[in-house]
Symmetry: C2
Subunit: 494 residues, 2 copies
C-alpha cells in the first residue's frame, strides 16, 4: 500500500474526476448533488470537475447533455439558472475506458490532469472495472499520496471476490485514500441517530439488552427488478441489500460509543459489531432466515408480473427478491436481543426504517384504566421521509382516573425555516470526500466482515437447495417472515 | 378511631357540606370548581350541596350572593347560565359556628342533615377550629362510618400541634375518612408525571443517582403578604410552603414505584421519602439553608414596601418570606443527589416548576463542533401554565459536521380540541373525595414526617438567631440562595 497518509482532512482536491459521468446513477444522483453543492456555495470554487465517459465527446456537447439531464432530474422549484451555469462552466470532459481484455485506456485523461496535484476520483462504474481502472491510473502516473478515490458500488459478490477488489484497489491507493459509499450513511437521520445517542445522557443507559426488546430494520421497495433482471438475478436481495445497507444500519445502531468522531474510531466500533454477528448455520438457517420471490400481483393499482415473468428473465430462477433474517449480536450489550432485518422488492409500500422496540413496563400500575400499555418505541425513518419519532405514553387530560394515551415525540430538528430540505445522501458524502473525512464511508474490514456473515447464509441456502417462498407482489413478503418474528413473541412494526 | 372502613370507593355521598362557604378560598376556588363539575356533568346529580356560614342567612339570599360571586370569579367565556342555575338550585344553606370558648354550635345543620346517610364535610376554615368542629359534629350525631371530611388548610404549625389536630380529628373520623388537601396534588401535570414515570419503561432506569445530577423545585410568587401580614408572620415561608407543597412535590418525584395506585400504596411510598430526608442540623444549617425577607423593591413595575413596612406589620419581625434548602434523601436511589428547594414572596416572576437535571454526557465526542453540550433536563411546570418539557440535543440539519442544538419535546397531551383547559386543582380533588379515593390526599403520617423535618430546621434557626437576609422585592431572593447551588457546581434553572 502506498500513500497511507493521503492528504490531511480539510485539504481540498484540485479536481473531481467522475467515471461513469453519463451513467444512470450519475445523472440521477451525482450531478444533481453537485448542483446543490454549487448552488449552496459548499463546493470550493477551486475544484474543477471532469466527467469521464467511454467515448470521445466535445466538452461543449457534454455540457449541453448535462444541462438537459439536470433539468430533467432536478425538481422545477430547485432549478436556478445561475447555479446551473456556475456548475456547467466548471465541467470538463475526458474519455477513458476499460478495454475488452480488462486493460485501461486512459484516453485524454493524462493530458487534462497533468497540472493537477490533488485528484479525487469517483468511480460510478461496474465494480468489475475497479481493479483495471485503479491499476491503469497508477500506471499512467495519475495517483499520488494526495489522490483519493470514491467507490460507488458494492464491493464483490462474496468475501473472496470482495477481497480481490479491495486488494486491487490497495495496490494503488492506501486505505485512508479510499472512500467506499453506502449512501444510507449519508442520510441526515442516520447522523441524527448518532447525535441523539451520544449527545444526550438519556439514551445510552437504555441502549442495551436491559431496556430494548428487539430491533427491526425494514428496507421495503415497491418496484420490481425494473429491466435489470439479469444483473439482479446474479445478486439477490441478501447480497444486493443486506450485505451493505442493512448491515451498515445494524452496525450504526449497535456500536459502542466511539472514543471520538475520528473516522477510524467510528469504523472500528462498526466492524466490531459486524464481527459479533452470530453466524447463521445449517442448524438454524430454517428458523432464522426467510427467502422469498415475488409472484404476479399488484403494484400501485396495476397488475404486475412475477419475478420469473419479468422482461429478460431466464427460466426458473431461485434468486430471492425478499429476505428476512433474525440476527443476534454476541456481546454483553446485545446478547439475546433479536435484530430482525427484512428487505424486498414489490412490497406493499416503500419504506426504510429502523425501529428500536423497548421492553414493556415491568409492572402496570394503571391496569384498571389501561389493560395494556404499549411499550416505548424509537422509530428512525429514512424513507420516504426522514424523521425520528419517540413513542411514549402520557396522561390523557381529564378528571377520571389516569388514562394513558400514546404520544409521538418528533426528535428531528428543522432548519431556520421550520423545514428540512431532504438532501440527497450523495451531497453529504461528496462533501465529506472532498474534505477527506471518511467517517461515513465503509472501511475494507467492514466490507469483508459483512461478506463473511453473508457468505455463511448463502452457503446454508445452497446446501438446503430450497426454492424461495412465493409472495404476491404488493404484499409484505412471505407469511413465514411474519412467523419469524411472531414465533418469538415479536411483531413487525407497521 | 371509628369507622375505619368508611364507605367504599365509588360510593357517592348524599350531601357535600362546605364549612367556610362564604370565605375567600371558597369563593375563589371551591364554588368555581363545583360550577365546572356541574357544567361538565361530573358531579353526581344526587349530591346535595350545603354551604355553612357562621351567621343565619336565608338560603335564597345566600344563592344570590353566590351567584354574584361566581360571576365575579369565573372567566366570562366560561359562565353558562344553565349550568349556573343547575348548581344554584342544588345549594342549601346552614349556619353553624365555633364559639369563643371553642365549642361547636351546630346551628340548624342537624335539621338539614337528618335524612342524610352519607355526608362529605369540607372544612374551609382555620385549622384551629378543626378539632372543635369534628368533636361537635360527632357529639351532634352527624358522623357515621359513611362520613368523610376534607381538611383544606395545613395541619398545625409544628409536629406537636400537627399531631394534636390529627388526634382531635381522629377521635371522630377514621384515617380512611379524612381527606387532607394539598392542592398541588390536584394538578394535571403532577399526575402526568406519574404517568410518564410508571407508564413508560424509558424513564425509570434513569430515575436515580446514576443519571440525575440534581432536582430543583421552585415555587415563586410575585405577590407580597397581601394584607395577611399577621397571619403570615406566625408561619413564614418554611412552614407555609415547604412543609406542605414543596415536600409533597419532593415525595412525588422521589418515591419508589408503588405496587399499585391504591391510595395507601402510593402514600406509603411518599412517606418513606419524607422519612428519608437527611435532617438539617446545627452543623450544616448555614450551608444547607438560606432565609430571606423582602425589602422594598419593585413588583410589576410599581414600587412596593418591604416586608416589615407592609400594612399591619408589627415592628422588626424576623420571619422569612423566602427560603432555599439543599435537601438530601438518604436511600439507595437518591444518595448524593441534591434536591434544591426554594420558595418566596415578591420574587421576580410567578412560577412553580420541578426541574430534573440529568448529568452531562460522560464524554463529548462532538467537541470539535460543540465545545459544551447542555445536559438533558425534564421540566415539569405547574404554574403559570401546566406543561412538561424534555430538553434533548439533536443534530442541526446541514452538511457541515455534526452541530447539535437543543430541542424541547412537549410531553403534555392535549384534549380532543388540541388544548388543555387548565382545570382548577380543586375540581380533581373534590371529585376524588366524592368518589372516596384519597390517593391525592395527604395521609396523617406524611404530615407528621414533614413536620419532623421542618421542626429540625426551625430549631436550628432559633438557635443561631440570625435575621433573615434582605432581598429586594422583584429579585430572585438573597444572593446566598444562588451560592447554595453554585457552591456544589449547580445552577438554578431560569
Amino acid at each position: 500500500m502506498r500513500g497511507e497518509t493521503g492528504f490531511q482532512t480539510g485539504e481540498c482536491p484540485d479536481v473531481l474526476v467522475l467515471f461513469g459521468a453519463t451513467g444512470d446513477l450519475a445523472r440521477r444522483m451525482i450531478w444533481p448533488s453537485l448542483f446543490h453543492l454549487v448552488r449552496d456555495g459548499l463546493l470550493p470554487e477551486t475544484v474543477r470537475i471532469v466527467g469521464v465517459g467511454r467515448k470521445p465527446l466535445d466538452p461543449a456537447d457534454f455540457r449541453v447533455q448535462l444541462d438537459a439531464s439536470l433539468r430533467n432530474f432536478l425538481p422545477d422549484d430547485v432549478i436556478d439558472a445561475k447555479a446551473l451555469h456556475a456548475l456547467l462552466e466548471r465541467v470538463e470532459y475526458a474519455h477513458a475506458a476499460v478495454t475488452a481484455d480488462d486493460q485501461f485506456d486512459a484516453g485524454n485523461l493524462p493530458a487534462l490532469l497533468q497540472t493537477c496535484g490533488r485528484v479525487l476520483y469517483f468511480l460510478s462504474v461496474s465494480p468489475t472495472h475497479y481493479g483495471a481502472i485503479c491499476r491503469g491510473l497508477g500506471a499512467a502516473g495519475l495517483v499520488n499520496a494526495a489522490s483519493r478515490i470514491i467507490l460507488e458500488k458494492p464491493i464483490g459478490h462474496d468475501q473472496q471476490s470482495g477481497r480481490a477488489v479491495n486488494a486491487a484497489v490497495a495496490e494503488v491507493f492506501g486505505e485512508q485514500q479510499v472512500f467506499r459509499i453506502d449512501h444510507y450513511l449519508g442520510k441526515e437521520t442516520v447522523q441524527n441517530l448518532a447525535a441523539l445517542r451520544f449527545g444526550n445522557a438519556l439514551f445510552e443507559p437504555l441502549w442495551n439488552k436491559n431496556a430494548i426488546d428487539n430491533v427491526q430494520i425494514t428496507v421495503a421497495e415497491t418496484v420490481g427488478v425494473e429491466g435489470r433482471w439479469s444483473y439482479y438475478d446474479d445478486a439477490g436481495a441478501l447480497r444486493d441489500m443486506v450485505q451493505n445497507h442493512l448491515l451498515q444500519l445494524v452496525a450504526l445502531v449497535a456500536m459502542e460509543p466511539p472514543q471520538s468522531l475520528d473516522p477510524d474510531a467510528v469504523r472500528t466500533e462498526k466492524v466490531k459489531v459486524l464481527r459479533s454477528l452470530k453466524p447463521i448455520t445449517a442448524a438454524d438457517v430454517a428458523s432464522r432466515t426467510v427467502r422469498g420471490q415475488y409472484a404476479a400481483g399488484m403494484a400501485a393499482g396495476n397488475a404486475v408480473p412475477g419475478y420469473n415473468q419479468e422482461e429478460g428473465a431466464r427460466g426458473n430462477s431461485h434468486t430471492e427478491s425478499f429476505v428476512a433474517l433474525r440476527c443476534e449480536i454476541e456481546n454483553w450489550r446485545w446478547a439475546g436481543v433479536p435484530f430482525y432485518l427484512r428487505t424486498g422488492k414489490r412490497l406493499q409500500s416503500r419504506r426504510t426504517d429502523i425501529v428500536i422496540q423497548f421492553k414493556p413496563v415491568p409492572h402496570n400500575i394503571f391496569a384498571i384504566d389501561n389493560a395494556a400499555l404499549p411499550a416505548n418505541r424509537l422509530v428512525i425513518r429514512l424513507q420516504p421521509e426522514e424523521r425520528i419519532t419517540l413513542e411514549v405514553m402520557g396522561k390523557q387530560p381529564g378528571l377520571s382516573g389516569i388514562r394513558l394515551q400514546p404520544m409521538q415525540l418528533d426528535l428531528s430538528l428543522t432548519d431556520a425555516f421550520g423545514r428540512v430540505r431532504s438532501r440527497i445522501a450523495y451531497e453529504r458524502l461528496l462533501l465529506d470526500a472532498i474534505k477527506g473525512d471518511n467517517t461515513l464511508f465503509v472501511r475494507r474490514d467492514e466490507v469483508e466482515a459483512a461478506w463473511h456473515f453473508i457468505d455463511g447464509i448463502q452457503q446454508c441456502w445452497r446446501q438446503t437447495g430450497e426454492a424461495p417462498r412465493a409472495y404476491p407482489a404488493g404484499s409484505w413478503g412471505p407469511s413465514a417472515a411474519i412467523a419469524l418474528a411472531e414465533r418469538h413473541g415479536h411483531s413487525w412494526y407497521e
